[in-house]
Amino acid sequence: MAIELKMPALSPTMEEGKLAKWLVKEGDTVQSGDILAEIETDKATMEFEAVDEGTVGKIVVAEGTDGVKVGTVIALIEGEGEASPAPAASKSEEKPAAEPKAEAKPAEAEAPKKAETGTAQLASEAKPAANPEVPRGTNMKIATVREALRDAMAEEMRRDDRVFVMGEEVAEYQGAYKVTQGLLEEFGPKRVIDTPITEYGFAGIGTGAAMGGLRPVVEFMTFNFAMQAIDHIINSAAKTNYMSGGQMRCPVVFRGPNGAAARVGAQHSQNYGPWYASVPGLVVIAPYDASDAKGLLKAAIRSEDPVVFLENELVYGRSFELPELDDHVLPIGKARTVREGKDVTIVSYSIGVGLALEAAEQLAGEGIDVEVIDLRTLRPLDTDAILTSLKKTNRLVVAEEGFPVCSIASEVIAVCMEKGFDDLDAPVLRVCNEDVPLPYAANLEKAALIDVPKIVAAVKQVTYR
């Protein structure tokens, strides 16, 4: 009986990929462990390896095919002495014949038990409203957040030769999440620097280089690892200008993905926004869409202050409109109204913005007109924008993918109490993740993370619906 080879999932969130290359052809015999094909996603390329031995009966999906769904039959392997049956005839119940080399488990197309990651509920199709900071009539292209970030760095590196990028796997590997893709080729190893796995050390070197007059962009593979380096971010970078009476600056950018990712467990899933936003002397930026990611990263690199720039792995691959401007730089410290409304305000940032927009669309169907504010910068916080919107809607909910205690939500609520009390028609509510380390089990992960229904429920509560 022929064994079906199915398109594997390279990561828990992968839904489709490109069959980049077949390394075998029909009629070839293969042994367990032979590399059959190369499969590509926007994040990575990997080899697809045979588990069973046999003969390649039929290649169902040709190489170069884009958008092959996970679980699609891509080839058939025949055992010894078997004829090649038509793929449709096969109703294989066996496990997939091939497994990717990486740790990712191959997905089974109709497998009923496939574990859905909780981060699936962080997905969003809703798009922010046009940004008035972008001149009207500007040509827009569609780009991913990942491309926008890369372009921001490349443009700033072309503009200022003091700018360089350092971090783990930023150069030859092209970035652990492909954010620095192509930079090594354009700028060379002097300016795109692979570091050893040594966060405390290279954060210090980056900070020292900034003190010495350069413009480092220090990438953390994720901000979870920056915990090993937080001393330099806070004690060395944030406080120097003040301690020196304004004499010694530290224009460094620390950037990388922050927040929950799919099924990676507690140590790799945390939003550090509130940590950094509590420290005077830092600028903290956490953009959502591609336009803000690009415009604010460019501004961060130009800033004379140390900047913590929090990205989100789950947002890297999302596509948005990106203005085609020669020099798209946005103001730091300004929130953006991504949806106008009059009944209630949802304040959010980073991946929460997509959820807030989804919730707003749903609520519009129920006659509740929601305004959504994307904070974009967490420090300095644009309290004017929050209070102006509150004055208009008199009701406010904060949606944040992160722990609830001592969160950005807590801060926004404090601001509303201290400065917006008279405008409040209902208590301000926060919708965050549960107050637990992020669990691995798919069902628990789902339960722990923020989702649209929770935001919708909170909005109904403050609007007494």
């Binding site: 050893p196 405390y200 280089a209 010495g212 004690n235 120097t240 003040y242 009476g245 010694m248 300004k334």
Partner: protein, 383 residues
């Protein structure tokens, strides 16, 4: 009672016992004698000890009378300045932490005299007053920073541990033990990136030498051949913990070996030995060979900071070092032996006392920072 580590260390390292061991090592490689022949990394382990051997061959810098007088004057300025800072602390004019450099003067003076002040950079930890004075920064603005006044070098907002002079390429003044080592590697990175020919000097103590980031920095500095000299000021005590109670390897100059960084073991109580060692290290680093690790064996006469129980060592130990190895007394003796008149030295002493008094008066009489300074310099830009 076990004998405190340091009296053993200073005495042994700076005198006979040490030169004995150097001689042994020299015999092992008799061919490489006179020249600091900087071997390629491939030449097994010779590169790692070549600088030490070069130093062993030529221990002391041949200073002119003028140079030695200048070193003497600088060391004396640090000593008198720190004594006065201690007094002002006692009067309540200086608060918080105040780490005095008394006893260690030869280290900063010997090393910094060898630097090229137009391009090299310096960074250190919290015991920073001495390094600033050795760099020629005005004692008045240092003392005024200690008293927290507006005319202090950090406008009163940094204090004893946080002083900087970007003009002098002095990058602080850092309070987190060991942080300056990574930051210093960053300064060296900037020198190399800009190809400006500068070398960074990162000072840290025997205590900081046990911090993990020090070794992260050693690794990258050596991997990338950064122009940096790591200077361990081994004063025998990490706060109150004697070296041998806190360090498995007490010969700190060996600690770069795992990263292929050559080490130098230097008597930090003799300014001319320090200067000579600095010349060798700088020459090596300027040639693009990457970092050097220098251990400067020295001694702190005063407490770690101002409130020090002084229970971790004996008064006799301190007294012995003072009497036998004091860097200023040593320089004075040598100057007198060279025929410099006692009067000339007295003039210097008088001049220093006047300068220190002036700095103290300035520091006491300068106004505190304006209340509005509370909110300035948090960020450079407005957003």
């Amino acid at each position: 009672m076990a004998k405190p580590a340091k009296s053993g260390t200073v005495a042994a390292k700076s005198s006979a016992a040490k030169s004995g061991s150097t001689a042994t090592r020299r015999r092992a490689a008799p061919a490489k004698k006179a020249e600091p022949a900087f071997a390629e990394a491939g030449d097994d382990n010779f590169a790692l000890r070549s600088l030490q051997e070069a130093h062993g061959n030529e221990k002391r810098y041949k200073a002119s009378d003028e140079e030695l007088l200048e070193f003497y004057e600088q060391m004396l300025l640090i000593r008198r300045f720190e004594e006065r800072a201690g007094q002002l602390y006692g009067l309540g004019l200086i608060g918080g932490f105040c780490h005095l450099y008394i006893g260690q003067e030869a280290v900063a003076v010997g090393l910094q005299s060898a630097l090229d002040s137009t391009k090299d950079s310096v960074i250190t930890g919290y015991r920073d007053h001495g390094h600033m004075l050795a760099y020629g920064i005005d004692p008045k603005v240092i003392m005024a920073e200690l008293t927290g006044r507006h005319s202090g070098i950090s406008r009163g907002k940094g204090g004893s541990m946080h002083m900087f002079s970007v003009d002098h390429r002095f990058y602080g003044g850092h309070g987190i033990v060991g942080a300056q080592v990574s930051l210093g590697a960053g300064l060296a990175f900037a020198h190399k990136y800009r190809e400006d020919g500068g070398v960074a000097l990162a000072y840290f103590g025997d205590g900081a030498a046990n911090q993990g980031q020090v070794y992260e920095s050693f690794n990258m500095a050596s991997l990338w051949k950064l122009p940096i000299i790591f200077v361990i000021e081994n004063n025998g005590y990490a706060m109150g913990t004697a070296v041998k109670r806190g360090s498995a390897e007490t010969e700190f100059y060996r600690r770069g070996t795992a990263f292929r960084i050559p080490g130098m073991d230097v008597n930090g109580m003799d300014v001319l030995e320090v200067r000579q060692a600095a010349e060798i290290a700088l020459d090596y680093v300027r040639q693009g060979n990457g970092p050097v690790l220098m251990e400067l064996n020295t001694y702190r006469y005063r407490g770690h900071s101002m409130s020090d129980p002084a229970k971790y060592r004996t008064r006799e130990e301190v007294q012995e070092v003072r009497e036998k190895s004091d860097p200023i007394e040593g320089a004075k003796k040598e100057l007198l032996a060279r025929g410099i008149s006692e009067d000339k030295l007295k003039d210097i002493d008088k001049r220093i006392r006047a300068a220190v008094s002036e700095s103290a008066d300035f520091a006491e009489n300068s106004p505190e920072p304006d209340a509005s300074e509370l909110y300035t310099d948090v960020l450079v830009e407005r957003y």
